[in-house]
């Protein structure tokens, strides 16, 4: 192909020859591992602090808000640098050494991703809980359900369904943001595409491969979650909670 007037021959084979295919696979695996771990912790943190933000006790609410405001308002990249370079400094020497022997880069990235996205997940979950009118709860209790039963059978089933779309968005953001881990030396997918680029000087092919893989991952997850959302849809309710932010 004549490319920008330069004779730029597309050589897609650079993507799988000389072990580069293995790099891409490794990159995908690391991205998935990093995102999955980060996602689980982010969900737990999000549920905890999201629920705290709706609690009837002021100090608990305040603690939830402090967590969210603190971590949500600073760039993830800064958090990654902070968790990798800054935070371990306050640990005792032995703990630092242990961490360094056991993949400090990966775990700092998990910490950064999960704490940052935990704060954002908390907002999604808070919005979900708050979108259920108080009267639902009162009605449930007045039919003789206990508070726990009311949560278990009425509030949570509705809230969980309402937050599927924004929580899916947020999870995809986490997956995409895991690409920032390359700045602290985690060999994830974006890192590997850059690696192929530096070894072969084939930017177009490498970037195309990386982009398509992310698209397939994101669209795949989105379509699965779309199915889930449709099959659990509450008839008559179309409202979605939260925005489309990433």
């Amino acid at each position: 192909m004549l490319f920008f007037g330069l004779a730029y021959e597309l050589r897609w084979s650079v993507l799988w020859t000389e072990g580069h295919g293995g790099w891409i696979l490794e990159g995908i695996l690391t991205t998935l591992k990093l995102s999955a771990l980060g996602w689980i912790i982010a969900c737990l943190l999000g549920m905890l602090f999201g629920a705290m933000r709706t609690a009837p006790v002021r100090i608990v609410r305040w603690a939830g808000a402090a967590y969210v405001e603190c971590f949500r308002n600073v760039p993830l990249l800064v958090w990654l640098f902070f968790w990798y370079f800054g935070a371990p400094q306050v640990l005792p020497q032995s703990a630092q050494e242990w961490l360094n022997r056991h993949g400090a880069e990966f775990w700092s990235a998990v910490a950064g991703l999960s704490v940052y996205h935990g704060a954002r997940m908390a907002e999604v979950i808070r919005a979900g809980i708050q979108s259920i009118p108080r009267t639902q709860f009162e009605a449930a209790v007045s039919t003789g359900l206990s508070v726990v039963e009311a949560y278990r059978y009425v509030i949570l089933p509705i809230a969980l369904r309402l937050i599927i779309p924004p929580a899916t968005n947020e999870s995809l953001n986490l997956l995409k943001n895991s690409s920032l881990a390359l700045t602290i030396g985690v060999a994830e997918l974006t890192f590997m595409t850059r690696q192929i680029e530096t070894y072969t000087a084939r930017a177009f092919e490498a970037l195309t491969a990386g982009t398509l893989i992310y698209l397939v991952l994101c669209l795949g997850i989105a379509s699965v979650m779309g199915q889930v959302e449709r099959s659990f849809r509450i008839p008559g309710l179309i409202a979605r909670v939260g925005g489309a932010e990433h």
């Binding site: 004549l2 330069l6 400094q89 700045t183 850059r194 530096t198 070894y199 669209l219 779309g226």
Partner: protein, 290 residues
């Protein structure tokens, strides 16, 4: 259904993008010199954190040996074109410099780039302006004394550098941790996250000299590679290459090169690193007769 539609869409977008890129193709019959003349700017890619070749000093200014050398090239270009040309620096890292050059974002790479045969597939190099080899930087008293000791150790390197490639290919037992740029890698070493950081010996000397406590660091091992630094430019542009090469030859012949060498590597320089006899002879022999 939504998904299938969007997938098809994405493919379409991709094709459109590809076609438009193909169609807009810029005529690159223009030589680098013509381009500099047309735009009035000479853009050079260099390093921000590789003392003393290109770095940001205590006064937060961008300085270095490579930057001083390339200023001589700038002067030659101005003389050749007969008008004043703006001199612009841009950051380039090992991972970014070849795309920067081939995309036309910079006209010349003058940092710490090793001339290699495989890189000559993508870019052209000037004559060698500095010769060094890869070594390891470790904390003083470290058990690592050279590349033979790195099995199982955490070794830091920069993405896209020649030494990263050597370690990956020849010493697979080492745990290689690769960073996009030097600041992250050196900070990680300073914090004990790495057992050693590998780079060209002279760059390690630069890092050591500029570190908060230079005495706490040691450069160990024999050179395990040969790293001749050259300035890189777009391929097949022999006029521009001649300008760069002639400038370097005149600087070596006329002594400006050695004045600059003294400023940065002399005994009172930023990173004391006396030039060995063979390197001196090699530099002088690269200068061809007028």
């Amino acid at each position: 259904m939504v998904c299938r539609r969007s997938m098809r869409g994405v493919v379409l977008l991709w094709v459109t993008l590809g076609l438009s890129v193909w169609g807009v193709g810029h005529a690159s019959a223009e030589t680098t010199l013509e381009k500099i003349g047309r735009t009035g700017v000479f853009t050079v890619g260099t390093r921000t954190a590789s003392p003393p070749f290109g770095f940001i000093n205590k006064q937060n200014e961008w300085v270095g040996f490579s930057i001083d050398l390339v200023k001589l090239v700038h002067a030659t270009i101005e003389k050749k074109l007969g008008k004043s040309i703006k001199f612009e620096l841009k950051e380039s890292t090992p991972a970014t410099r070849i795309p920067l050059l081939s995309s036309g974002a910079v006209d010349l790479i003058a940092g710490t780039m090793t001339d290699t045969r495989s890189r000559r597939d993508s870019v052209d190099f000037s004559l060698t302006f500095f010769a060094t080899g890869a070594q390891l930087l470790v904390k003083k008293g470290s058990p690592i004394r050279g590349v033979k000791d790195i099995a199982g150790k955490r070794i830091g390197a920069q993405q896209g550098s020649t030494n990263e490639r050597i370690i990956r290919e020849k010493y697979p037992q080492a745990q290689l941790v690769v960073f996009p740029d030097q600041p992250a890698a050196f900070t990680a070493l300073a914090q004990g996250k790495l057992d050693a950081y590998t780079n060209d010996g002279i760059q390690l000397a630069g890092l050591k000299a500029k570190a908060p406590n230079p005495g706490g660091w040691e450069i160990v091992g024999e050179f395990y590679s040969y790293e001749p630094y050259g300035m890189a430019m777009r391929k097949n542009d022999s006029d521009f290459r001649a300008i760069v090469n002639n400038t370097l030859m005149e600087a070596i012949e006329g002594g400006e090169y050695f004045t600059l060498y003294d400023k940065w590597f002399g005994l009172k320089g930023e990173v004391p690193y006396p030039m060995s006899e063979p390197v001196l002879a090699f530099l002088l022999m690269q200068v061809v007769p007028k």
